[in-house]
């Protein structure tokens, strides 16, 4: 190699040999452990009172009451919802959209006698999941 390329080559490796292991170690040490939520099977850890629950293949759904008496619908997705835009419907009324989080909580005005929860693909206009609580 000619001198200028040789110098650039050397400089690159000096920088890489210092910066890359530092960034690697930084990522290794400071990345928080991902919360393992596949065993999420109750709402007890939230200190909420579980009212009803349904465990299906792709989703666990709960109706619970928090300490203030607010009724909650909790959805825990066991696998990603394969839709770019999906909504949550309770008894045909839209509650919100599905985010990238594996667990989502919705406040309800009151405890429904019967709860039919539907995860609806708004692009393909079709049901992805349906849960009866």
């Amino acid at each position: 190699m000619i001198q200028s390329i040789r110098k650039r080559h050397r400089l690159m490796w000096v920088v890489i040999s210092i910066a890359l292991p530092l960034m690697f170690a930084f990522a290794l040490i400071f990345t928080p452990e991902k919360k393992e939520d596949t065993n999420f099977s109750s709402v007890e850890f939230l200190d909420w009172k579980e009212i009803r629950k349904a465990n299906l293949e792709g989703i666990n759904a709960y109706l619970a009451e928090d300490k203030k008496g607010i009724i909650k619908l909790i959805l825990h997705f066991k696998e990603p919802v394969k839709s770019a835009f999906a909504t949550v419907q309770l008894n045909e009324k839209q509650l919100g959209t599905i985010s990238s989080k594996s667990s989502q909580v919705f406040d309800l005005p009151s405890l429904p006698e019967k709860a039919t929860v539907v995860i609806f693909d708004e692009i393909d206009k079709k049901e992805i999941l349906k849960v009866e609580l």
Binding site: I2, I16, A19, L20, P21, M23, L28, T31, A84
Partner: protein, 344 residues
């Protein structure tokens, strides 16, 4: 050493090398897919392709980056260097399959252009857990694309060896981006430690051999050779093996002094093809032969034999007893200098 444009100058060695690469790639892909399907039957075909091509590409990149410094440390690795470009293009194609499937899987179902989505769908650059690691992979892919697209000697000749080399040493930036791409990607789903451990071991190995080779190289640059009347003392003639060279540093440029057929000649150490180290090559059939890709030059005038037209600068030489002296100022490329005869 193509005189005219030829897509690939095939030789028996190149065919065997490429066959080995192809068989290894297929074996790895099949083994990865079979084992992972057996261990995790629920895994989708897309995920299997993304993971198998991603892991294979990063393994191949490690192999590619090891070949250069290992060849400087031990010439037994030189045959691997000869066809490294084919391995590089293979790695790029595999990385492209990984990139295309990842883009389709994670960015193709929204109302944003999938390529744009890679860069804007996640803007959490301040977060370690949710860092947009795909952006790092995309930037590395752009560098690898530029390298693969200009890998042919056609581009080497048109861009000049200096510009071409400047572009191609960006592979180290691509490597750094990819280490972080994998590290931060894996860090977001740390169910097992082995990918991080393997990546860390690979990184230490790559940095280790590059620094070792660099340290060996720097010894040449740090020689303080005595000067005398416009000449630099290059050492004793007995220090050079027959048909081999001694490399010295004059004015921060390297000079290779070759000993062959009872004679001495000095030329620039820089091959005109890819700036390979001529002084680490041999004199074969009376011609200096670059160890990287076999480009050849006549020792007394630095010209490639007809029909080729590459030329390297030459240097004047003299012998005082057994001590070699090399002129400090290089002659123009292709200038004939009568070889010094060794009379003892």
């Amino acid at each position: 050493m193509a005189h005219d444009y030829t897509a690939v100058l095939w030789s028996r060695q190149k065919k065997r090398y490429d066959m080995f690469i192809a068989i290894s790639v297929v074996l790895y892909m099949v083994s990865f897919i079979v084992i992972n399907s057996a261990v995790n039957p629920e895994i989708s075909e897309e995920t299997l392709i993304i993971r198998s091509t991603g892991t294979l590409a990063i393994i191949l990149l490690h192999v590619i980056l090891l070949i250069g410094p290992l060849s400087r440390l031990n010439e037994n690795f030189l045959p691997l260097l000869y066809n490294r470009r084919h391995l590089g293009v293979t790695m790029f194609l595999i990385a492209t399959v990984h990139a295309v499937f990842s883009t389709l899987q994670f960015h193709a179902f929204g109302n944003i252009n999938p390529v744009l989505s890679i860069f804007i769908s996640n803007m959490e650059y301040g977060s370690l857990t949710n860092f947009p690691f795909q952006t790092l992979g995309a930037l590395a892919w752009i560098i690898l694309f530029l390298m693969a697209a200009t890998s042919h000697d056609f581009w080497l000749k048109n861009l000049s060896a200096r510009a071409w080399k400047s572009l191609h040493i960006m592979v180290y930036i691509a490597y750094s981006l990819l280490v972080l791409h994998v590290m931060l990607g894996v860090a977001q789903d740390r169910s097992t430690i082995w990918p991080v451990a393997l990546l860390g071991a690979g990184m230490i190995l790559i940095i280790g051999v590059h620094l070792t080779a660099g340290f060996k190289e720097s010894k040449i640059d740090n020689q303080n050779l005595p000067e005398k009347e416009g000449f630099v003392h290059a050492g004793n003639v007995d220090d050079i093996e027959n048909n081999r060279a001694k490399v010295i540093d004059i004015n921060e440029e390297r000079v290779a002094i070759f000993k062959y057929d009872g004679k001495l000649s000095a030329v620039s150490n820089v091959c005109q093809h890819q700036n390979g180290p001529l002084g680490e090559g041999r004199v074969i059939g009376g011609l200096i032969t670059c160890p990287w890709h076999g480009y050849q030059y006549k020792p007394h005038d630095g010209c490639s034999p007809p029909p080729f037209d590459e030329k390297v600068p030459t240097f004047g030489l003299k012998l005082e007893g057994k001590e070699i002296y090399v002129k400090k100022i290089a002659n123009e490329a292709g200038t004939e200098v009568a070889p010094v005869t060794i009379n003892f």
